[in-house]
């Protein structure tokens, strides 16, 4: 799998193992709009693996064609229906904790 992009985000809520959360529920507006540099070209509807290190992961589809070096955000990578898909939390985490979000092109 090829690295598509990564960014460090701050959890806006505390979560417990087993909770169902998504990219919108976990991060506030400033983090949802934090720039993520695209590292490789990809076409619309390409499935990427979104990994919140240690917390959870989910496969999501890109919402548009992406070009290397573009600056994207959670909002401009994924349509609402994708970014609001729930994933299961693998551990407890506190609000304010920094989490690395990695996106891999499968």
């Amino acid at each position: 799998m090829e690295m598509f992009g990564s960014v460090v985000l701050r959890l806006n809520k505390s979560v417990n193992k087993g909770d169902k959360e998504n990219l919108l529920s976990l991060f506030d507006a400033d983090d949802r709009f934090k720039p993520i540099e695209v590292l490789t070209d990809a076409e619309e509807d390409t499935t990427v693996k979104v990994i919140l290190e240690g917390l959870g992961e989910i496969d999501l589809k890109l919402g548009a064609d992406m070009e290397k070096k573009q600056k994207k955000t959670i909002m401009t990578l994924f349509w609402f229906a994708e970014r609001s898909k729930n994933m299961e939390m693998q551990r407890k985490a506190e609000a304010g904790e920094n989490v690395t979000l990695k996106i891999l092109k499968t």
Binding site: A29, E44, A64, M75, T76, L77
Partner: protein, 350 residues
């Protein structure tokens, strides 16, 4: 009565101006006025007045925290504060008298801006309509209601602003404000009375058939539109699902109505270009690209710019269309250059 301007309250006027020059493009704003010391008898504000078309856009910063706009900024932060409606002088005076007789919370006194010979009054947001509104007239004679008017030597300065920035955008038309309300029938009657016109149903913008609109983000609306000249208008949305985000926000704020977003319209073959221009300029785009609206065969592209990058205002951008006298919509191909099939000049029957 006609819609004249949309007015925002901001903290940093120059930063807001710079942002809105980038949003609209300097080519879409024929004139910008710098206004200093505008006093309505209750508070003093400074601002820029952008002659966007057909609706103008005011950017205002209050000097204090106790006046109408100052309090709003303290309580709600930056964003849409009010719409201004222009009337002929007779209608203006009749409307002020009518609102007072109806018990609506209008200004105690009309404000006469001496340097412009313009008169205004407020309809407070505590009224049944739920949002602040301003009504004005360009006077052509002395006011009959002079005894109920504050004659003010204001504004202290109003002059064309010198703009050095250049941002070229496709044609952008600003003509719509979206208002959300919490009670459909009663609110519709209130707004119809205030605006002196009946709304048209907007479930389908081409046929005016009733219907619900699902915004895909948890809100389901029943929309109606109060139309004005040059395709201007106010869309009144009743979000019918109580647990939708908009109803939650209105309950939290304890309001009956709320200015929800503004809408501008862009040359039909330039929507994707404009999206990229805004993205490159650092605006917070809400989705990956313009979405194609398939609701009831709508056929327009649309996208949103998040309020965090636009001084508290959610902007909706749509492929340009115009409305005929019946407020039915037709695609506007007037400045589209890219096509395989040329537009039918007779289409729309406008």
């Amino acid at each position: 009565m006609d819609m004249r301007s949309i007015n925002l309250v901001v903290k940093d006027l120059d930063a807001a101006l710079s942002t809105y020059l980038k949003l609209f493009g300097t080519n879409n704003i024929p004139e910008i006025l710098r206004v200093k010391g505008l006093n309505d008898g209750t508070e003093t504000i400074d601002g820029y007045y952008l002659k966007t078309q057909p609706l103008n856009l005011g950017l205002w910063a209050p000097r204090g925290t106790t006046g109408r706009i100052g309090q709003f900024l303290q309580k709600n932060g930056e964003g849409i504060h009010h719409l201004t409606f222009q009337m002929e002088q007779d209608e203006f005076e009749e409307t002020y008298t009518r609102f007072k007789a109806q018990g609506r919370p209008v200004s105690n006194k009309i404000a006469y801006l001496g340097r412009l010979s313009e008169a205004f009054f407020w309809l407070d947001g505590s009224g049944e309509q739920g949002v602040p509104m301003q009504f004005g007239t360009k006077c052509s004679r002395g006011l009959k209601l002079w005894e109920n008017t504050d004659y003010l030597d204001t504004p202290k300065v109003i002059e064309p602003a010198k703009i050095n920035e250049v941002h070229i955008r496709p044609r952008i038309v600003l003509n719509s404000a979206m208002v959300t309300i919490n009670e459909s029938e009663k609110q519709r009657e209130v707004w119809a009375s205030i605006l002196s016109r009946e709304p048209v149903i907007q479930g389908n913008i081409f046929t005016l058939e009733p219907g619900q609109v699902n915004d895909g983000r948890g809100n389901i609306f029943i929309p109606v539109r109060f139309g004005f000249s040059q395709s201007k208008g106010i869309n009144l949305y009743r979000a019918i699902n109580p647990e939708g985000p908009i109803n939650k926000v209105m309950r939290k704020k304890g309001v009956k109505g709320m200015y929800h977003n503004l809408a501008c319209y862009v040359t039909r073959d330039q929507v994707h270009t404009y999206f990229k221009q805004l993205e490159d300029a650092g605006f917070s785009m809400v989705d990956p690209k313009p979405a194609l609206n398939t609701n009831k065969g709508n056929g327009n592209y649309f996208f949103f710019v998040h309020p965090r990058s636009a001084f508290g205002v959610l902007w909706e951008v749509v492929s340009i269309f115009i409305r005929n006298e019946a407020v039915k919509a037709y695609y506007d191909w007037s400045d589209t250059k890219v096509y395989m099939l040329p537009p039918d000049e007779k289409a729309g029957n406008l």
